[in-house]
Amino acid sequence: MPPRNHFRPVRTSMALFGALAILTGASMARVEAGTPVPGGTLIYLEQQAHTNLYPPAGGFYPNGGVLNQITDKLTYQNPKTLKIEPWIAESWTVNPNKTEYTFKIRKGVTFSDGTPLDAPAVAKNFDTYGLGNKDLHLPVSEVINNYDHSEVVDPTTVKFYFKKPSPGFLQGTSVIGSGLVSPATLSRKFDELGDATAIIGSGPFVVTKAVLGKEITFAARKDYAWGPANLDHQGPALLDGIKLIITPEDGVRIGALLAGQADVIRQVQAYDEKQVEDQKYLVFAPSTRGVNNSVVFRPDNPLVGDLRVRQALLHATNAPEIVQTLYSPNYPQATSIIAATAAGYVNQAAKLTFDLDQAKALLDAAGWQPGADGLRWKDGKALILTAYESQPQPQNKAMLQLIAQQWSKVGVKLNVLAGDSGSRAADDLDPLKTPVSPAMVGRADPDVIKSQYYPANRDILRQKGGQSQKVQTFVDDKLNRLLEGIASETDEAKRLAIAGEVQAYVIDQAYAIPIFEEPQAFAAAPYVKGLAFEAVGRPSFYGVWLARH
């Protein structure tokens, strides 16, 4: 790949939006014409405070946004090609059945506390991520499957052994959840890792000050010399530092950016894109390449235990209307449970049609008869479902309300709750209380499907023996077998075939109604140059510089 491309904003849907492409292209031309100016502090507005900075918890975007600046990974996933490239690991070898991985570690890399990032440190990192640490309550990383143990061959060589084939591991070493941290950090308890200053990484920035829930100050490491080898920019970061300020109010973030009080913001809502672009500011909407923003069912709840009811609701959902009303071309309508840019994607659009007559027929067949109040009734019960709003997802409350409006046309009521965190956390485990739930997760590997659906991982459907003890009976062995296959099939073609099979199966079972492919939407002032994003849309400020303005 031409190295410059890395600096181009990753707009998955640019092709659809020619005019904007020209606009963005024009400003990019200026970027390339200018010479990077070092110095300055970037003001970055984040929507939510981080929760915990144990690297495997980095999947949560606010966590990942912090971790991505302060940690390096063994490998670098090129966001353009999704190929795995060297970073802290200079090279690697994998045995044919993908149970042994050997990495050669780059020399001279240090954590910001001065300890060397060598083979023993890497081994300790992955032992912790792969096996967890019971005493310190450190959980197993969801991106590492079938991990057995590590072996330090010599100070620059580390080897990992797996109980069963683990084909996703190489990509797994490049993700945010595999950020390398100092052994000192890993000897802390899980709940101490909420303090950003406790996270000692080897990345281009170091956290110098953290005001809880309010702001984090980063300073560039002047001795940083081990960025991903294929990047255009090398050496220390160009910025002096970053100031990350938690700004939950959407209107304040966008207003502050446009009024010149901030340089980059995360979570630009679709309705604000126009005013950003009208002022020649830039919208970046890198795809999360993972599980699409969807509505999923908890079939353990008898109301949605019947396949016909789930199918009826799938066909009663008008995804194009949702996308048109609430979102923008940066939010393409979903055509499967994973994004079209995700590995292993198979188009399921033919099964995702909006068809009110079919929906009504399915409900009739399932025995739900229209009552006098406009709702569907069966055995003295009305078809009333409940979902909690998911705050991190863009305009989720509005989306669920619109779905409720659409479902009401076939006599189904959907209550949308904001709820307090306590009720939400408790009710979310109980399929009887939350038969419907919004869901999404980003990762550029088919393993992401397993992460989302497998009972031992996120268990989004709530199966018996999974995350919740409230589940009575629901288990789908066929689904689980397929998911295990994705995590352990060594033949890449076969693995992608299984991923395709899972997509078809989940839609056939109507476990999920995919709505749109979720981007991570950022906006930046026109003088912010070199903003880059990792493969699933977390910002990297490593190569950023501020042009004179």
Partner: protein, 314 residues
Amino acid sequence: MTRYLIERIGQAVIVLWAAFTVTFILLHVLPGDAILIKFQNPDLGLGPQQIAEIRASYGVDRPLWLQYGHAIGSFLSGDFGYSIQAGVPVSESIRANLPPTLWLTGLGSLLAAVIAMIIAFAASLSPFAWLRALVRSAPALFVSIPTFWLGIALIQIFSFRLRLLPVIGAEGWRGLILPVTTLAIPISAPLAQILVRAIDDVATRPFVAVARAKGATHAWVLWRHVFRNALPPALTVAGVLFGELLGGALITETVFGLNGIGRLTQDAVNNQDAAVLQAVAVLSAVGFVVVNLGVDLLHPLLDPRLARKERVLS
């Protein structure tokens, strides 16, 4: 007087204890708990087993009365406990959040007093009847505006449209102007009312006429007597305003994205961070008790009629 003081302090201690206990009970009957809220997040990847272990490590799986005893014991020894959501000691959370709130509420009350005075004197001294009438209706309007709505409007107009004052990354006083104004406007209304009434009362008294006859200017007479008249009722509302300040601070901090005790409280309620709330409840109860005690002790000094009555009664 000593006996009175001892009685009042005894009452205060009971109030503090009860506030602590009420908060404790309230938090423990809420659905879910802090551990679940913090750790039942799919991105963290913890299973039910691990969550149960964390729960045990915080000691929140023990019987309630044991937890209560432990909480009150460590509170008395100055240990406010540990914030589960933030993962830091509560004292640290409070230390980080109390100063901004004190600044906000302190400056807010000050500005409220200034606005009230301006209204009161404009309402009495303005040469035009229509202006006097207009100014007099301002307090009624001020208390009818929702604080959050006012804050949003001020940000949009002064920060984003006119770009006069930053709301993000503002250092020092420039960042405080809009939030302090937002907080002060509703608070100024009752104070303005009191002052207006005091001016009305004073203006009709014979001694004003006498003073003026002796050559004093109108404004000077007003200043001197109005304050003497307005201070007792102003003190009376101080206790009530203290509560309004806390509530107003929460809204202001939310709208402006400031950190402070108000937002800490809201987050802690939402996350059921019991230790933090316990500390906040006791802190504000202390504030309430001190303000009211102060008001009660000052009252007789400022209002001779009351002092006389008191002597008769005791």
